[in-house]
């Protein structure tokens, strides 16, 4: 008997059985079935992997080989030491730590606040709700490049300066605790798909709203929350302008600001820049690869009824 309000256990056994046929003939048949799909996916993957491929070969070239035209498609003599040079050119470890702190705290802030606000806009019916929701839509304009689009940049900086928060991480982290319209909107879309009956049943049983949110809705929303968390984390990880204008001590800079050190007015350390950029992106790739199952379990609501 399925308990209302919780997702059904994933039917892993049948999936596995389908994936690994026992007989050799079955294995061959399975591979052949998907060959067409696999071929297409491989071609697409090759296309999307081209930037990483280009970055890596550039990272492994020597300055002399960088000036080969047309460019060589594989480094003649891979300079692995470029990676070592890249992390000593700037205080890479220090910047890495700073970036982690901002990304982790900011992700918590974003996910938490966006979920709570989205809950208010979707799981509750109150007069004027959809009109107030328009403010979220309107704010998307500001948050496309928050907090540093040219219009919000200066007034907000002055505000934070008056509070003495310049040269700290606070202006980069604290605002995340007030909700980000992109994620509020996203979570609202998902939360609206959870049938109201689930919450109503608990309300009848006498649960207060916080309990309903925590015990019933939150577990169902985990996949969407995972999406928001990963997006928020990556956005913070790669944010350049925010750290640039708010951090003044060189040892507080983040990785994205650090990357600009490889670029000069008349010359750029292309090989080091590409090596550093690869190192900056690898943690993100790893996190995405290992955590993707969290947002792909899906809200299998069909079985609730």
């Amino acid at each position: 008997m399925k308990r209302p309000g919780s997702p059904p256990p994933l039917d892993r056994s049948s999936r596995r059985a389908r994936r690994r046929p026992v007989t050799r003939a079955g294995l061959l048949r399975a591979l052949k079935e998907k060959v067409g799909t696999r071929a297409l996916l491989l071609v697409m993957a090759a296309f999307f992997l081209m930037p990483l491929y280009w970055m890596t070969i550039t990272a492994l070239k020597s300055p002399a080989e960088l000036s080969q035209f047309p460019p060589t498609l594989w480094p003649r003599d891979p300079q692995w030491r470029n990676f070592v040079d890249a992390v000593t050119f700037i205080p890479f470890g220090r910047y890495f730590l700073n970036t982690v702190v901002i990304a982790v705290l900011g992700t918590i802030g974003t996910t938490l606040s966006s979920f709570l606000v989205a809950y208010g806009f979707s799981r509750l019916r109150w007069p004027g709700r959809d009109i107030v929701f328009v403010t979220v839509l309107a704010s998307i304009f500001i948050f496309v490049r928050f907090p540093v689009n040219p219009i919000t940049m200066v007034p907000l900086f002055v505000l934070f300066a008056k509070m003495g928060w310049v040269n700290t991480f606070l202006p980069l982290i604290v605002p995340t605790f007030f909700g980000n319209p992109f994620y509020i909107f996203l979570l609202r879309q998902f939360l609206l798909q959870i049938p109201r009956e689930i919450s109503d049943a608990a309300r009848i049983d006498g649960a207060n709203e916080f309990q309903i949110m925590r015990r019933i809705v939150l577990p169902l929303t985990k996949p969407a929350l995972a999406v928001v968390a990963i997006f928020a984390a990556f956005m913070l990880w790669n944010d350049f302008l925010g750290p640039l204008i708010y951090l003044q001590d060189q040892d507080r800079y983040t990785l994205s600001v650090g990357l600009s050190f490889y670029q000069g007015t008349h010359d750029t350390e292309w090989h080091l820049l590409m090596a550093a950029s690869t190192l900056v992106v690898l943690p993100q790739l790893a996190i995405f690869f290992f955590f993707q199952r969290y947002f792909l379990e899906g809200i299998t609501l069909g079985s609730v009824k």
Binding site: R38, L41, M44, F48, P155, P195, F289, L301
Partner: protein, 294 residues
């Protein structure tokens, strides 16, 4: 109001209270500030001198304003629909039941987290008139080489294509939505004799409409402010064909120290964005379905 209504209102306001504060502090305050500045002449320092509607008047006579607005509208018109289609296709690809699908998904998502200067490097080569992959593929079907970034008529299209590499972000959102569609619905459709295409249009897409609405409004907002690619790859050229609104705004604010003018530009774009978003949102009732029918 019934007791229940009051209860829902109270809880509603409690839950959205962080947003109220955020909205006032990070949206209302700067936009009101910008609204005020749009009626002044202000360099960012010293006094802001009141000049009434002069900035707006000058904008309407500024051919670069119209150029940048047109460039942006054209770009949005191309990038938003194409972006939705590409993201959906990518999501369907990411949803395939294969053992190694995790690798494919990571590959597709990768470019959307790469820094843009790295992406632009590869695109310079993909789009190279002589040695680039795109022109090579075109030559296989007999089309003569295109000067992707150097030809004013094509540069915008090239940037739209570059942007598609970042479709992974929207695709993941679609993917999460795809996973929420119960298999039972597909089974029922198969029983009714539906083929793959019919399943797509009669099961998948209708049930993805909440995500479609999100990606649509999101894309409009993001693409109306397209900036970085033009800043890094073309600097608005050739001959201002990729001078987008946000780039021109940025120049006015920081190069020309004309924050009053830039603020006026900002408000105009804000109104445009809001109008479009509201239009889409208001009409969403007709085509978006929220409750997943079991």
């Amino acid at each position: 109001m019934t007791r229940n209504d009051r209860r829902e209102l109270r809880w509603g306001l409690i839950f959205i209270s962080p947003w109220i504060v955020g909205f006032l502090a990070f949206v209302v305050y700067p936009m009101a500030n910008a609204g005020y500045l749009s009626f002044t002449r202000f360099s960012g320092f010293g006094e802001a001198r009141w000049i009434g509607w002069a900035n707006y008047r000058r904008l309407f006579q500024d051919d670069l304003f119209w150029t940048s607005l047109w460039n942006t509208v054209v770009y949005v018109g191309m990038a938003v629909p194409l972006g939705l289609v590409v993201a959906l296709a990518l999501a369907l690809a990411m949803n395939q039941r294969l053992r190694e699908v995790a690798w494919y998904r990571t590959a597709f998502y990768l470019p959307s987290i790469l820094p843009l200067f790295a992406l632009s490097l590869i695109f310079v080569w993909l789009l190279n008139p002589r040695f680039g992959l795109f022109n090579y593929l075109l030559s296989l079907i007999g089309v003569s080489p295109v000067n992707w970034l150097g030809d004013p008529r094509i540069a915008k299209i090239s940037l739209v294509l570059v942007a598609q590499l970042g479709a992974g972000h929207a695709a993941v959102i679609f993917l999460a939505g795809l996973r929420a569609i119960p298999q039972t619905l597909y089974d029922a459709a198969i029983i009714d004799g539906a083929n793959d295409l019919q399943k797509l249009f009669h099961v998948t897409i209708p049930l993805l409409t909440p995500s479609i609405l999100y990606n649509l409004i999101s894309a409009i907002g993001v693409n109306l402010q397209i900036f970085t690619q033009a800043y890094i790859m073309t600097d608005g050229g050739p001959v201002d064909s990729t001078l987008f609104y946000a780039l021109y705004l940025y120049r006015n604010a920081f190069n020309y120290s004309d924050l009053g003018y830039a603020s006026a530009m900002s408000w105009i774009l804000f109104v445009l964005n809001l109008a479009l978003a509201l239009f889409v949102f208001a009409r969403a009732r007709r085509w978006v379905r929220y409750e997943v029918v079991g």
